[in-house]
């Protein structure tokens, strides 16, 4: 009877049963896995398209926030912008894409306001320099004092052509308030009278900005005499001797909201990032001690119970109330309240992994405590620590808004998103609501991005999702 051995022996050759020679390259190949934690985390994160695009948006926003003051054509954040001639603050100017107020065709006669002398005395340095290139113009020829008669030579629904003291020009025809008219007013000429002082314009339109002069480049006009200029081609009349615009409008102090928003974002982000780092450092340090050093466990647990029982808001309010308002106070107050959550989390994780076999082995081999903590324990926590830091940035920005509302935040001279929102809050129901809308849009983009990116990063960092 054939044994199994006989059955298979002819298929086996002795050569197949020789000992293998140690081959280091083959050994390397067998022991090699192309799994890497951070690589997989990164790939996982890239799969989430929403988070990825938000990350790019956030990165661009952050870069822009920091380089914005160095871009050409920016106003300084706290500069109060006055009209160069009337020196009236340009308050609550609505957002505009360009500050060209009017385009006039060639051969338009404009009245020149001599502001070269003015510029040297009262106007800010920037405007004084601009005065060489720009001339201030309007089409106001003269004004008629109240209750004076003048002759209407041509009647129009919006503007009437008139003659007064030898000046021929146009006056606005809003006769419900101003012009006193005869019964058959369309029959010209006739004598009319206004109860108020009214302006005579050289063209049937008003080329001013709220009664203030507009500015035109010297190169696009030719001077007839000292007081009149004629446009040589189509010319742009601007609100200011400047090509810079108020993209977000101006606030109620006449400051450029665009510059204020970015400067405020910088402040708020600085606070947020500083708070995130302080919380992480304090939280990790205390959490590690709490979890690793057994004799401290009881004490720190009691401290935790005390702090955890008070509403965070109250601690924030109390600390900001006692200290002087400022950026460092805010950072300090938020770090004091924020480290608790981080510390508790780190502690719980460390208690879980502290006594695992590999740590026990490490300890038996005489690895010192610091090395065990920094090499064996903390790498496990990196992803969640990052998540918590990402989430504490929007939290800190929100707290800043709240503290500012209560009146304990930053002084108005330091623009921050909290300050801007607090000022804009009162204007929401008015036509100046853009002063609240722009800061809140920027704030929401930042906080929502941090939140979503943080969460999807935490998902990506979870090894369960690495399959």
């Amino acid at each position: 009877m054939k044994t199994i051995k006989d059955h298979i022996s002819h298929k086996l050759e002795d050569a197949q049963f020789e000992f293998a020679v140690y081959d280091s390259a083959a050994a390397e190949k067998a022991g090699y896995s192309n799994y890497s934690y951070w690589g997989s985390t990164f790939r996982c994160f890239l799969k989430n398209k929403v988070a990825l695009s938000l990350l790019i948006l956030l990165a661009l926003l952050l870069i822009f926030t920091y380089i914005q003051p160095y871009l050409p054509g920016q106003y300084e954040a706290n500069r109060v912008i006055d009209h160069p001639i009337s020196s009236i603050q340009l308050m609550n100017e609505p957002p505009r894409l360009s500050n060209v107020m009017e385009r006039v065709p060639g051969d338009t006669v404009l009245t020149v306001t001599p502001w070269d002398e003015l510029a040297l005395a009262t106007v800010s340095k920037a405007w004084a320099e601009a005065s060489k290139e720009w001339i201030a113009v309007s089409n106001v020829l003269s004004s008629i004092p109240s209750r004076k008669y003048f002759t209407v030579t041509e009647y129009g629904d919006d503007y009437c052509k008139i003659e007064y003291n030898g000046i021929v020009g146009y006056v606005k025809n809003d006769f419900t308030t101003k012009l006193k008219l005869p019964e058959d007013f369309r029959n010209t000429p006739y004598e009319a009278r206004s109860n108020f002082s009214i302006k005579i314009y050289s063209t049937p339109s008003e080329l001013t900005h709220k009664g203030n002069e507009l500015f035109v480049l010297r190169s696009s006009v030719s001077m007839l005499d000292d007081k009149t200029a004629v446009t040589v081609k189509e010319a742009e009349l601007r609100m200011l001797p400047d090509t810079r615009t108020f993209l977000f409008g101006t606030n109620n102090a006449g400051q450029d909201l665009w510059a204020m928003v970015w400067s405020g974002t910088r402040t708020s982000l600085t606070i947020g990032i500083a708070v995130a780092f302080c919380q992480a450092i304090i939280g990790i340090l205390i959490g590690v001690l709490w979890g690793y050093v057994k004799c401290l466990d009881r004490l720190l647990t009691e401290v935790y119970n005390v702090i955890d029982n008070i509403p965070t808001t109250i601690v924030l309010i109390l600390i900001s109330y006692i200290l002087r308002p400022g950026i460092s106070t805010l950072i300090f107050a938020m770090s004091i309240t924020g480290w608790v959550g981080m510390a508790r989390f780190v502690r719980n994780q460390i208690v879980i992994i502290r006594d695992r076999d590999y740590n026990l082995a490490s300890r038996c081999l005489g690895t010192n405590t610091f090395r065990i903590i920094s090499r064996n324990l903390l790498p496990y926590l990196v992803s969640v620590i990052t998540l918590r830091m990402a989430l504490s940035i929007p939290g800190a920005i929100g707290s800043e808004v709240f503290i500012t509302y209560i009146g304990l935040g930053l002084p108005v001279s330091i623009p921050s998103l909290g300050n801007l929102i607090n000022v804009g809050r009162k204007l929401l129901a008015t036509s100046a609501s853009y002063q609240l809308v722009f800061p809140t849009i920027v704030l929401s983009i930042i906080t929502i991005s941090f939140y979503i990116i943080g969460n999807s990063f935490a998902d990506a960092a979870d090894p369960k999702n690495h399959l």
Binding site: N309, I310, I397, I421
Partner: protein
Amino acid sequence: MAKYLIKRIGQSLLTLFIILTVVFIMVRQMPIDGYFENIDKLDEAVIKATLDNMGLNDPILVQLKDFFLDLLQGDLGTSARYSQGVPITKIVAEKAPISIILGVLSMAVSLILGIPLGAAMARSKNKFWDKFGTLFIVLINAVPAAVYYIYIQSYGTSLVNMIMHLIQGEEAAKIGMLFDQTRWVTWILPVFSMSLGNIAYYAMWLRRYMVDEMNKDYVRLARAKGVDSKKITMRHVFRNAFVPMIQYIPTSLLYTVGGSIYIESLYSIPGMGGLLVEVIQRQDNPMVQAIVMIYSCIGIVGMLLGDILMAVIDPRISLTRKEGAR
């Protein structure tokens, strides 16, 4: 059980003692302006006499002892700037009821809206309600509350006016942006705003627990038996998922307390939160101290009640191991 109760109450008392001491000592570090209505008009001698009279020049430990003795007799001191010389207990007693009513209402509303939202999200996983709820939760968590409260106040007022106009017709009286205790319509927006954070919080956790519960074997068995899915959700999944939700009630109380400060001040509600903002702006030291202490007490008592409630309701939660784990 009794042992746990005694231990937990003792812990709360200790916490209370520490917090009161810390707050007291911290407020003592403030400039003394906050104890006078107008310090610039007084001369040195008067200031010193008043401070002596108030006991503010004593060593800090003596002050602390006096403070706790007064506290045991229910005396929180008198207001310095807000309304000079009036006992703080009297001011607070007038203001507290409305804050309590608002807080309770908002907790109720957030449970009433948050629980169904969470259940609906779990039932329709990856469909409309789930997506809607996720969007809501992300918005509420990510956008600072201070910002959306403002928008709710402004646009919500016009919305409420519009709805009232539709219901009552021409005779509907318009409401302003501020709170008016005698008109119930003006209660809607503050209570709703205060609830939003907690609605998101409850919905988020209930959804997570219910989804976890739905993947368990007993649910699969029930489904295999042919029980209809509505019944499974209500009878099995929801019931089991609801128990761990109890542990979030104390924390949500802390949120409500925090939110109430802002909301009350925004709507000019004559409650404690608005009062706190007002006395901070007037730098009335004794009142800030007293109100901060009261809020801390609310926090401590709320957490205590929450823990006891949890211990009573869920026998599975181990009373002895719980410490420091939450």
